[in-house]
Amino acid sequence: MSASSRVEVEIELNGQVIFDHVEPSETLREWLRRQGMFSVKFGSDSGETGAAAVLVDGHLASADVLLAAQASGHAVTTVESLNTEAELHPIQAAFAATGAMQSGYSAGAMILGTLALLKRTPDPTEVEIRDMLSGILDRETAYVKPVEAVKRAAIMMRGGATEPFTPMVLEPMTDGVNSVPHDPTSPIPQASGAVPRLIPSRDVPEMSVVGKPEIKVDAVKLAKGNPAFTDDIELRGMLHAKLLTSPHAHARIVDIDDSAALKVPGVHAVLHHNNVARIKYASGGQSWPNPHPHDQVSFDTKVRHVGDRVAVVAAETVEAAERARDLIKVTYEVLPAVFDEREAMLPGAPVIHDETDTEEIFDRSKNIVHEITASRGDVDAAMASAPHTFEQTFRVHQVQQCPIEPHISIAWLDEDERMVIRTATQVPFHTRRMVAPLLGMDIKDIRVIKPRIGGGFGAKQEMLIEDIVGHLAKATRRPVKLELTREEEFMSSRTRHPQTLTFRTAVDNDGTLIAQDLYLIGNTGPYGTHGYTVQTVTGLRGLTSYNAPNKRFHCDVVYTNIPVPGAYRGYGAPQAEFALEAHLEDVAREMGIDVIEFKRRNWVKVGSEIDIAPHLGERAVVEGELDEYPRVMSSGIEECVAQSLREIEWHRRDDLSWRQPADRPDIRRGLGFAFCMHGTAIPFLDMGGCSIKLNDDGSFNMLVGATDLGTGADTVLGQIAAEVLGVPLEDIKVYSSDTDMTPFDTGAYASSTTYISGTAAMQAAENVRVRLKERAAMLLDIDQPCTIELRDRRAWAPDGRSVSLEEVALDSLHWQDQEQIMGTSSYVSPECPPPFAAQLAEIEVDIKTGQVTVTKLVMAVDCGVAINPVTASGQVEGGMLQALGYAHCEEYAYDDDGRMINSEFGPYWIYRADEMPETVVYLVQTMEDSGPFGAKAVAEIPKDGVAPAVRNAILNATGVAINDLPFTPERVWRALQVAPITDNS
């Protein structure tokens, strides 16, 4: 090979030899995508995510870290090689059947890995499967269902028969209301960990589509790696954008010199504060009007964290953009910075927002952006007179959502010169509204399209980079793409809020809670974005799970110079429930009461008022009382507790021989419990719309604004409509999240989609059903359309006659009194029915090193009626994985100047397939009358209980209480030095 700049390569791609000339820097991933192999995804330049893994000479290999030139002379296989027929390859079919694909962003890599594994080992063990998956990071499935998919594929490839992948239905252990004693002799149900255990409710009627483990409606395109994601589009003349971000945590920009950058060949624009209008905004994707303060602009004269925006370049190649970016000369006046929320409020701390055009900062001199208060009863009096009072302070840390697909947006002006933004977002409609003033455009001239996205988890509940590509598209009149690198995703995207929480609790002699007082200092970083609402939810979750006549919440939301916290699945609840469930565990121990009995005595039950909730939030009742307070209307918590205690073998908690294994003297074992309660949507605020129309063949197009992040929302909403219309799911064609085409939806957050958008879908379908019945009655010559039933794609008269929906469609579209049968609806709820759950953890502690190993997680969830038990259990599994990382290993680490020193997955570390603890999910049905077909939320509650359950298990194992996260070895070891281990018997 020669040393000329371009390299001649000969690569066998999917069986076909391709001769090409490549740049020496071009990676194999880039070359493959240039060949149209869109299944090969970007996750990071380091190859750590495995999203770009392909087969090279039959071996799984990350195409990010291979040069295209290195692949010359080798055979490369991508998942597209399997797409020779319309039907799915057996491996693809196995992934679809088991719910192994949520967003499906890394599905291609997993399927290829399976192909290679099964060729080598036709009947692999679970250890071998997990080892194969060890290089493909997944934040969505906890690897449980991918492992099941590989096992199923192995059977199929060997010619074996497979059964449909369905839940294991179990008998209830309780009457649904009362507790039962834990029975150590009760046998544990045996099934693969991927199989959800389903405990039906007698109140739920049998249905045809709802409640069934339907295959996701997007499964085929995900399994085949079809071009479905933001980056999977090719536009003529597209430019590539690169960000220049701040190296300083706090500095004033004295000067920007872009002259050298503009001279780089191929550069079309360099934007910064000198040439972009200063329009104030808040980036959090929330309903109008966005909560104040509006403390951001597209490009500011000041930077407030390492990674903050300084400038952006658009150029014809990534290399030119990077070269130009590096030539921008910025002169900074470096300012003192502060990172800890407690220090930021002290006298003398640097003032982070000293500009005059940001309004409604509570006390800018102390960096307090909001003060939030709410109370019920008289906490001070209750504390003064209570026989027992307790106080503890907890510190929770900063972590990242880590979607494997980083933020990416592409903007262009269409043929009508309207701005089109194709973007990985959870909030397309909010984004359209919020970006308009920044671009100086009307909302009507902007279209936001959300294609498939590779995970969001709250990070994409933000108008984060859409303004940048919009500015560049306007400036260059060319399509522009901006995709964050993994380091930028860590430093310039969004994170979970660190907090300091102090709980004070008053308890009567019999263990009844008298008062709860929570003082919260929330660290919102340098920008407000979700700062107000996340801390509000912390207060809500901290003070609504348990009944107490006196409650008080006081919160200071504080600016600091850390990378920006924002929305992260759970939205303030994981922080609250860690502190709350740890605190009450310790209170119970102090009181000498069994912890579950103590919590049971006080947790909310059916009929309990959720009395502080209306006094917190964006539309809170700040003064006075309400005539009526929301109440809990459904709860399956006792069934959750009974099932999960049996699964975890709770009696071992008091078994010293189990806790201190004789053959492992340095090991202590423990079990921990956490009670979990979450919300379902934001009442009176979250709204979703749906429109359904009938097609000639009796199928339906369903248009929803709801945003499927990989959660299965499109599938669940389709199932709801199919149930109403009496058709199989395959007859509902779902199109979602396009501001030009679909009805409005607030977006995918606040555990709202199934409940809010699902009700809209149900009502829209009901509207269609009314007209279908009327038209069918005409064809069947029946006077009373209401007597007609829709099922099996037909409209049935009471006398047994029927017409097909196709006949109804052809008649209504073409034959007589022609009309388009369609229905539309939108829904906003006055209710916020809480899902409940019991979270259990089994752990081991090495008392000499502090190393904690989590060996089993069990979660039993009452999410009402799970519309699709497979996707619902997948939500629980994935949520537990993220929550485990939060509890155990993930954390932002900084140097003294506020620079993150672990902005790669290796040093940051998220859980891999080959190290996951056993996870088991129970779905306990209850009938929530306010939800569509009885549904409540399921997406966020799995984030709430893992950290306190692990913490309480460490306490059970060692007798040592640790009140800071995460439970990394040195932190635990140091705690063990301070508080010597007891036998805890």
Binding site: S5, L67, G135
Partner: protein, 237 residues
């Protein structure tokens, strides 16, 4: 996109050495490090894949692993003892161990590499194209000389080997690991110096001053060395 100004694929060692004698040229083993690094200055890479250095061969009393043998090939080879094979597996996830090479691992001198620690306790020697045979311990101390190439690593594969380690999670890179081999006076430690080091099995922390990071302070790493060393020794007794 990595900053690669030119790509070379020499067909024999002498051509590779000739290419590497020019400035701004670096050997490309697997690529998991250099191709992942976007911060370095532009370089020309010399891809070593065509040099035939990927064999794993047994000789009386020793095992010879070519510099371009991948970690996956160590796992797949019947000649590699099971304990070492497992260490190679744990060194890298499935998508990278098929690319990462033994030579690249040695050249990286990563302080936390358990594989390097294991090679140390097996008295590994490294053969360089120009400098000849050096002990792995010496090479880790000095690094691969400029313009030279690792040809292969040779070691005595006998004797059971055991690892005792502490990490955040089961598959995480250990904060500190101790690797012991039956019959050896010394134990190899990771995470306590700038490279894996051999230490006295009885007094493992003598002379150590581990560089701290966010996963472990100096004091904690020393404590881990004290705890993990006897565990590893005991495991091979």
């Amino acid at each position: 996109m990595p900053l690669v100004a030119a790509y070379h694929r020499p067909l024999d060692v002498s051509e590779a050495l000739s290419l590497l004698s020019e400035p701004h040229r670096v050997p490309l083993a697997g690529g998991t490090t250099i191709n992942a690094d976007r911060a370095h200055d532009p370089v020309e890479v010399v891809d070593l894949q065509a040099l035939g250095l990927n064999t794993i061969a047994t000789h009386p009393g020793e095992l010879r692993v070519g510099a371009m043998a991948t970690l996956q090939s160590m796992i797949d080879s019947d000649a590699v003892p099971p304990a070492l094979s497992e260490i190679a597996r744990a060194a890298s996830p499935s998508t990278l161990r098929t690319i990462a090479t033994v030579g690249g691992t040695i050249a990286s001198r990563d302080s936390s590499s358990v594989l390097l620690a294991a090679l140390l306790v097996h008295n590994a020697e490294v053969t360089l194209a120009n400098a000849g045979v050096v002990t792995l311990e010496d090479l880790l101390a000095t690094g691969v000389p400029t313009h030279d190439l690792i040809m292969h690593v040779t070691f005595d594969p006998t004797g059971p080997t055991a690892v005792a380690s502490t990490a955040r999670t089961p598959a995480d890179n250990p904060i500190v690991a101790a690797v012991a081999r039956r019959g050896a006076d010394q134990v190899a430690l990771t995470g306590v110096a700038n490279t894996p080091v051999l230490v006295d099995a009885v007094n493992p922390t003598v002379g150590l001053a581990p560089p701290p990071d966010f996963r472990g302070s100096t004091a904690y790493r020393l404590e881990l060395a004290r705890v993990l060393t006897p565990r590893a020794v005991e495991a091979v007794r």
